[in-house]
């Protein structure tokens, strides 16, 4: 088996995972590892879940990262599940030989916090494993070991992945986005209150509407993976997407 440099990226949700995987495939020349292939890097074998969990949650699907690789680099994109990313990824790292990693990165939502605050929270959580973890949002540091955190949507504003996806959608699917926005905007404030929307649920519902039109019956992750949310046109036209692609390039290549 080819010996590759190993990189681990932690993300908060499945949509983030699909989004990064698509950038890596579309813009940075990575290939997705498929089930059944026999050249899975040894370190990633540690992520393979063994036995069902005994916590009584019999229907919970155990997590396995998305693995993508070039000839020289193999990257695992691990989903930690929203705010539990720090806890689950810390526990995972405690079970790994972290010295085998040549890159470690986090891509997280800013939500309603300052990006710097988000970056500090994560860098503090992972200092135990990576004392040199670099915590300036959007920047990558290090040579033999590279690290960095990208705070969505653009390392300076509040927001989430869907904030960025909306911008991509306006370039790739302007008509669908307009009609989806019109549909979402038709919900009254009273209805939205009754539906208990949280911040950024408007953007999420808009993306879900378009995704549902593009891939009826499929999830957002399938649409992110298969449609043109990330393409040459969006990378050229959406500065935030270009910046994220550049961050990943510096972290991995």
């Amino acid at each position: 088996m080819v010996s590759r440099r190993l990189a681990l990226i932690g993300v908060e949700g499945n949509h983030d995972q699909a989004f990064l995987a698509k950038i890596l495939r579309k813009s940075l020349g990575f290939t997705a590892f498929k089930d059944g292939e026999d050249d899975l890097d040894d370190l990633w074998r540690k992520f393979i879940p063994v036995y069902p969990p005994k916590s009584g949650k019999f229907h919970v699907r155990l997590n396995f990262p998305s693995i993508l690789h070039t000839d020289k680099v193999s990257v695992a994109i691990y989903v930690g599940g929203g705010s539990s990313l720090t806890q689950s990824l810390s526990v995972i790292l405690s079970n790994l030989d972290c010295s085998q990693l040549s890159s470690f990165g986090i891509v997280a939502d800013s939500d309603k916090k300052l990006p710097e605050q988000v970056a500090v929270t994560y860098s503090t959580a992972f200092k135990e494993f990576f004392p040199e973890f670099f915590s300036t949002p959007g920047e990558v540091a290090g040579e033999s070991f590279r690290s960095g955190i990208y705070v969505l949507p653009d390392n300076t504003s509040e927001g989430v992945l869907e904030t960025l996806l909306c911008k991509c959608g306006e370039v790739a699917y302007p008509d669908y986005m307009k009609r989806a926005s019109s549909y979402i905007n038709s919900f009254s404030a009273e209805e939205i209150k009754k539906l208990k929307w949280k911040p950024y649920d408007r953007e999420k519902a808009t993306i879900a509407t378009v995704a549902s039109v593009l891939k009826p019956g499929k999830t957002n992750t399938v649409s992110i993976s298969d449609n043109k949310w990330i393409c040459q046109q969006t990378t050229d036209s959406v500065p935030e997407l270009f910046a994220l692609t550049d961050f990943l390039k510096k972290l991995l290549l």
């Binding site: 540690k46 992520f47 393979i48 879940p49 063994v50 036995y51 069902p52 969990p53 005994k54 916590s55 155990l62 997590n63 806890q87 689950s88 526990v91 995972i92 405690s94 079970n95 030989d97």
Partner: protein
């Protein structure tokens, strides 16, 4: 407070610079084959009674299941408890024929340090040939074993000095040291010193088959009114077991000298222990050892061995409960993830269970420590592999 809060094995067999910190009530060693799990138990076994040459001899033979006649010589067996690095020896002649062992610990354990060394020795011996009345010379070889301990009461805390400068003693055993020459082909004297004999008992994957020790252990349990608790444990494997007794074998001509352990069983009636499976016999052995080692340290090699996975949880529940009640600190090895999960199920606090994964690497035995909380998340929420 556990007897051992931390253990540092600087050198022992293949272990090198192994630091086991924040030990718990139950300490589980995992790792691939040849990672040193059993060596940790062996090191602890010697640490419990280091001035007793017999302890060195028995520990050095604990992995051998063949009859005594086929075993290697005492000196050879003991030599293999010491680290051997063939590559070092090839490049450094000074390492030939000598070896050092070094251990230290923190906690209430009576010892804080142990240093031992051996040196290969040779002697030209002359014997008289009866028929020809001539003298013949033969080269005899052996080892000189030197052991020094540092107890809690000792003022000397730096035991590493001993390795560089072994004390120049005649063959002797004293309150803090042992120095003895062991010659190949000669009957070995086993000088006894119990000055620092601490309660440590070992359960190997086969020790339950040695019935001689079972009589004594069962009698001890009976005298301590512990028999019903032992039966509780056996019920986790076979609910039909009602009682256990030592009985004379009346079919034997020498009935008064032949005894066997019998189990009173709901469906089988009174049946000899050796007609039951290994699971029952080993659990009985473990239970009796817990009684014997009250307030001390119990070492179990391959804790899952002979026990069906469905019985692991109930047996470990018993074991965890009685280790706590009897103030026993447990060190166990396992290859089984089911054993890890079962122990997680029956323990419930940070100090109850600690898992140590040993990974040999160049010049050092790496160790990954997972306390109960972390292990719980790794196994029960994330389903992660923790053995390698």
């Amino acid at each position: 407070m556990p007897a051992l809060e931390s253990l540092f094995i600087e050198k022992f067999r293949g272990l090198q610079d192994l630091q086991l910190n924040e030990l718990g009530r139950i300490n589980l060693m995992v790792g691939t084959n040849n990672s040193g799990k059993t060596s940790v138990l062996e090191a602890l076994s010697i640490y419990s009674d280091p001035l007793n040459l017999r302890e060195w001899w028995e520990t050095s033979n604990s992995r051998i299941q063949e009859p005594r006649a086929t075993r290697s010589s005492v000196s050879d067996a003991i030599k293999w408890l010491f680290p051997h690095n063939h590559l070092d020896e090839m490049h450094d002649d000074s390492n030939l024929d000598v070896g050092c062992i070094s251990l230290s610990s923190q906690g209430t354990f009576p010892l804080v340090g142990l240093a031992a060394s051996y040196e290969q020795i040779e002697e030209l011996r002359f014997s008289q040939n009866d028929t020809k009345a001539e003298e013949r010379a033969a080269l005899t070889s052996g080892i000189e074993l030197s052991v020094k301990i540092i107890s809690q009461l000792s003022n000397e805390k730096d035991h590493t000095k001993f390795i560089a400068n072994p004390p120049d003693l005649e063959d002797t055993v004293s309150k803090d040291r042992l120095k003895i020459q062991i010659w190949d082909g000669e009957r070995v004297r086993f000088p006894r010193s119990s000055a620092h004999n601490f309660l440590v008992e070992t359960v190997t994957p086969v020790s339950h088959r040695l019935e001689d020790s079972q009589f004594r252990l069962l009698s001890e349990a009976r005298y301590q009114n512990f028999k019903s608790e032992v039966i509780d444990l056996l019920n986790s494997v076979d609910s039909g077991i009602e009682d256990i007794e030592i009985l004379a074998d009346l079919s034997s001509a020498s009935a008064l000298t032949h005894f066997s352990i019998y189990i009173q069983h709901a469906t089988l009636g009174l049946a000899p222990l050796d007609t039951f499976g290994d699971g029952i016999r080993r659990l009985l052995h473990i239970a009796l050892k817990v009684v014997r080692v009250k307030g001390g340290v119990l070492l179990i090699d391959e804790i899952e061995s002979t026990i069906h996975t469905e019985a692991l949880q109930s047996s470990y529940y018993w074991l965890a409960k009685w280790c706590e009640e009897m103030d026993v600190q447990l060190f166990a090895t396992t290859h089984s993830l089911e054993a890890v999960d079962a122990l997680l199920d029956v323990t419930n606090s940070q100090d109850d269970l600690v898992l140590f994964r040993l990974e040999p690497s160049i010049g050092k035995t790496k160790v990954t420590r997972h306390d109960w909380s972390r292990l719980k998340i790794l196994r029960e929420e994330l389903g992660q592999e923790v053995r390698w």
